[in-house]
Symmetry: C2
Subunit: 357 residues, 2 copies
């Protein structure tokens, strides 16, 4: 496992170790992106076509976010699900392209609303939409993208898929609300954190992958395999994201490192460190992430405490464990004409637990 090879104690050392690994060709999204490049080009065309509106602010604001270089991991899930479920085809159906676009719109809508709620001013290395156009516009354009996503799903014509993705959407918002209600409580149970990230991140990965398979006519077993793949991939991805908030710098992240800390968001590293904290450390967490009373050096101190308790390493191990579950779900795809895509999906899982951006 990748995480077990990381034994350095401080954040700097972890970053340095990751850099060493990077030299040995770390896992990446490249194989998956290349295999699905033609389909993704169609998704990008559909994104541009379907965020148009007679109201000019909509494509301006939505375009600012959507064309800012996200990884498109969620629509990749849909495309991969569609292709692996009908491996003898060389491109996705129009319905699958529309579904993948819908998935990206749902994700973009949640990002717009998240940035309003977190009062973020930087994402993917750019000013956020709310920083440029204000909260009101971000709320409404998020609503627009969400509605547009449902229009696209309706056009895809499969009521099962509509059910999967509408339930996922409800679950995302429930998790975001739960996250808000546990914010500032460093004593949050690990299972509550996992419930939050399953809802806010992993469920959409799962629904995207399963819906792609289903729209290609996959049976229940294949659909469920893609669901489990996406779910575990999403968990690994979010745990890494939360760990990176304490290790990466702004240039790497494309957002402000330390944002979660200052937003009093309770994530795995903090929960693990709090469980091992002495009285002085407990006091520190309660003053900072609990009461929102921050001094200039507090983030560095938080990093030092996390390092001392190996909380980042333990988070990386958890991410790797979920990534391995995601890989295991791919075992069903053992036909020769599924091998290349299954391999790319396995590498994507490894990437989710390894990435540095």
């Amino acid at each position: 496992m990748v995480a077990q090879s990381i034994t350095a104690e401080g954040m700097t050392q972890v970053a340095s170790k990751l850099d060493d690994d990077a030299l040995k060709q770390p896992p990446s999204l490249t194989a998956l992106v290349n295999l699905l490049a033609d389909d993704m080009a169609q998704v990008n065309e559909t994104i541009m076509a379907r965020m148009t509106s007679d109201v000019p602010l909509i494509p301006q604001l939505a375009g600012h976010l959507i064309t800012s270089g996200g990884k498109r991991m969620r629509p990749l899930m849909t495309l991969a699900g569609a292709r692996i479920a009908s491996p003898n085809t060389t491109s996705c159906s129009v319905a699958a392209i529309k579904l993948a676009t819908a998935v990206e719109f749902i994700h973009s809508a949640t990002l717009l609303h998240d940035d309003v709620i977190d009062e973020s001013n930087m994402r993917r290395g750019q000013d956020t939409a709310n920083a440029l156009w204000g909260n009101d516009a971000s709320v409404l354009v998020g609503d627009f993208l969400f509605a547009r996503a449902f229009e696209l799903m309706v056009e895809s014509g499969n009521i099962d898929v509509l059910g999967t993705l509408s339930s996922a959407s409800a679950r995302i918002t429930e998790a975001e609300i739960k996250q808000m209600t546990v914010a500032g409580n460093p004593d949050t149970r690990l299972e509550d954190y996992l419930d939050v990230i399953e809802g806010k991140t992993a469920i959409l990965f799962a629904a995207a992958a399963a819906s792609g398979a289903r729209i290609s006519g996959a049976d229940e077993q294949i659909t469920q395999a893609m669901h489990m793949y996406g779910l575990n991939l999403g968990l690994a991805f979010q745990i890494m994201d939360d760990a990176l908030d304490y290790t990466a710098d702004s240039a790497q992240m494309g957002k402000n490192a330390g944002d979660d800390f200052l937003d009093q968001k309770i994530t795995m590293p903090v929960i693990l460190a709090y469980q091992k904290a002495n009285d002085e450390e407990r006091g520190f967490w309660h003053r900072t992430i609990g009461d929102g009373n921050f001094a200039a050096e507090d983030f560095a101190k938080a990093q030092s405490i996390l390092s001392h308790h190996k909380a980042i390493e333990a988070s990386l191990e958890a991410a790797t464990s979920y990534a391995n579950k995601a890989k295991a779900a791919l075992a069903i795809f053992d036909a020769p004409d599924q091998a290349e895509l299954a391999q790319a999906l396995a590498e994507t899982a490894a990437f989710a637990a390894f990435r540095r951006t």
Copy 2:
């Protein structure tokens, strides 16, 4: 026409005239509400059942809005559409009940987001959700209700209806954004105002009514009749709403009279008065609703200018004209077993252009 009988110049006189009419049994929602009482009881049950969540804040916040005594006009449209399209039945199908619930959830989601955007602190005579729980919770619970609405629509199982209501949802947000972009411009064209209110209000009335008919198996002609009924009813309703903002008091409205003025929202009375304004009045509108520079007596002065140009009376006439178009769309429902419901819908149209709350 009701509006033509109103010749008094000042707001006080208009209000007094409306009071006189009230003594002669003004049109009301009572007939429609009574005819659909059993169905609406089921809708209310479904509302309560489907806004539950493991996250306690969701039913608390959603319930605060949804149980605060709204008129439920939009789900009434769906129930009426469902019943008039299959007049030999004595109750709506489960699918129609779910659709009506979905329509109320979509409406509630937009209200939650509207109140965030308008920074409103009072609705239906109560503190708004954002005033009580904060903007973040209102944004997220709005998203939840919207997602829940789509789950209900999926369960209703009709893909045509899903298309109608998802397109309506996209149109609502486009109109809200357009309204935001024209805010503060008293020189807004009447056609832009009408485009905004068609999108933000009338389209959901139309989609609600048409979807109800469709889910009962209505053909295109009947579905279209209910669409036209809902559309024109919605226009009448919103024009009245905008006029009332300059005439009603807070106790009557259940929200703050003058809110639109202070929010720099450009509505029909202002557009009509601006078109007839002299230089001094133009300066007044630009300083107040244009630049947001308000003095204590400005609302009274705005009322006085509107009165001088008979802008409220002209708005009431426009509302009445749309209400009459709504009534005309009902002509197709001429079977004996449709008569009672058609009559109640006609009275509802009259109510929309007459109501004082």
